[in-house]
Amino acid sequence: MTLESILEALLFAADQPLSAERLQALFPELEQPSVAEIDQALQQLMAFYQPRALQLKRVASGYRFQVKADYATWLSRLFAEKPPKYSKAVLETLAIIAYRQPVTRGDIEDIRGVAVSSTIIKTLLERDWIKSVGHKDAPGKPALYATTKHFLDYFNLQSLAELPALLQPAEPDDSVLAANFDNSREQDQKTIESAQEQTDNRNENTAIAHSDR
């Protein structure tokens, strides 16, 4: 056990910088090394750690081991705080924009039944999950929001059609599904022919779009 190794142990265990005098005082009275001897051992330690990821640094109140600044990027990953969770309001707003786009803030408020703060919209804009795709021709020209390509990438979706469908109360069996499919195809055909009817059929189309998935 050398003076150098004892100082090494002390400096690593300490949670604050230790001065040469403080280090000296930690030795039993009759075995105390001189401050000069301590300084010399500290120099050896400094030299030893010089090529490593840490350094023995001298600060105002003494000596302390410190991880070198070059490694700050890695350390920041280590200490990155656990991400908080989005509030229900944020999730609901995002869901409305995803499933009902393009929508204005007013539309979102109508569906949620409560005001939507600008913070929520800002959060989603900053995350690059939504964007404004235009303005509604209404008083105040409110922005129309839609989801972005980045939103699709984040959720690993090719297109919005891949968003999970609502859980149906009861799953229709395959044959029924196939029948509906064919029907709806014809219906679609008709719809194109007579745009007027389309609006009425909308519910059915929705169901088909979902079972298509």
């Binding site: 700050a72 920041s76 990155a80 209404a138 919005l160 059609a161 745009a195």
Partner: protein
């Protein structure tokens, strides 16, 4: 051997017999006795001490002698009217029972009888001794704060960017379903669902119109998307029109319809 030679059992004291069972020449300051007994973790610990003090192995214990000594302590405690944990008295009764069995002729004793209280006592003493030793071993084992210190270093200055929250797809679906359920409860606010491909197309068309005055109706269609794609675009245009987000204009019959953002043209 004869039972006639046996003296009066100190057991009687445990049952509340007179205090004069305490020998006259014995004086232990009550405090000392209390401190002495407090050093033990219980009756097993005290018994173990009595056995070890005589350099005996547990399996060799002379039950009667140890019982005498154990009961001796119990007597003293009772005599001094000191509070004694119930476990000590239970053990005293148990020891007395073992001892009384030993006084009987050999007949009723079977060596490998599991119910034999003596074998059970030995088993318990052994187990306790093992664990008592284990506890001592654990106490001597190197541990943090006493023998081992973590190597700590200062950190270089760094900027901590909190990671944004993660969202799972099903969280989004759950939020949407909760909304629909809520809206259902307020009848007047029914949310009608369109196919998402249509809603997506609506956004795309709006975005496209954002930068231009107007777009000729056919230019919004991409033939390479096939019939399905054309249908989606068509439905999207109708829905946009219905929601008043775009206007469809036709200068005169049979000319090309133009699509523009509502209010722009």
């Amino acid at each position: 051997m004869t039972t006639a030679a046996l003296p009066i059992m100190p057991l009687a004291v445990v049952r509340g017999a007179p205090v004069d069972a305490l020998p006259d020449d014995l004086y232990i300051p009550p405090d000392a006795l209390r401190i002495f007994l407090e050093a033990f973790e219980g009756p097993l610990d005290l018994l173990l001490y009595l056995i070890k003090r005589q350099n005996l192995d547990i399996v060799d214990i002379p039950i009667a002698r140890i019982t005498e000594q154990y009961l001796g302590y119990i007597d003293m405690m009772s005599a001094l009217k000191m509070e004694l944990a119930a476990e000590y008295l239970v053990m005293a009764a148990w020891l007395a029972e073992i001892k009384s069995r030993l006084l009987l002729p050999r007949a009723p004793i079977q060596d490998d009888d599991e119910d034999d209280p003596r074998a059970l006592l030995i088993k318990r003493l052994r187990m306790y001794e093992v664990m008592k030793n284990a506890a001592e071993g654990l106490n001597e084992w190197p541990r943090l704060e006493r023998d081992i210190w973590l190597a700590q270093t200062d950190l270089p200055p760094m900027t901590l960017q909190p990671e944004p929250p993660t969202v799972e797809l099903d969280m989004l679906l759950n939020a949407w379903q909760a909304l629909l359920k809520r809206a259902d409860q307020h009848r007047h606010h029914r949310i009608v669902q369109e196919p998402l491909s249509v809603r997506e197309r609506m956004s795309l068309i709006l975005e496209r119109l954002h930068h231009v005055e107007s777009v000729a109706f056919p230019l919004l269609f991409k033939l390479e998307e096939g019939r399905q794609g054309v249908l989606v675009t068509f439905l999207a245009i109708l829905e946009l029109s219905k929601e008043g987000l775009i206007s469809i204009m036709q200068a005169e019959p049979l000319t090309m319809p133009m699509i523009a953002v509502a209010g722009k043209a």
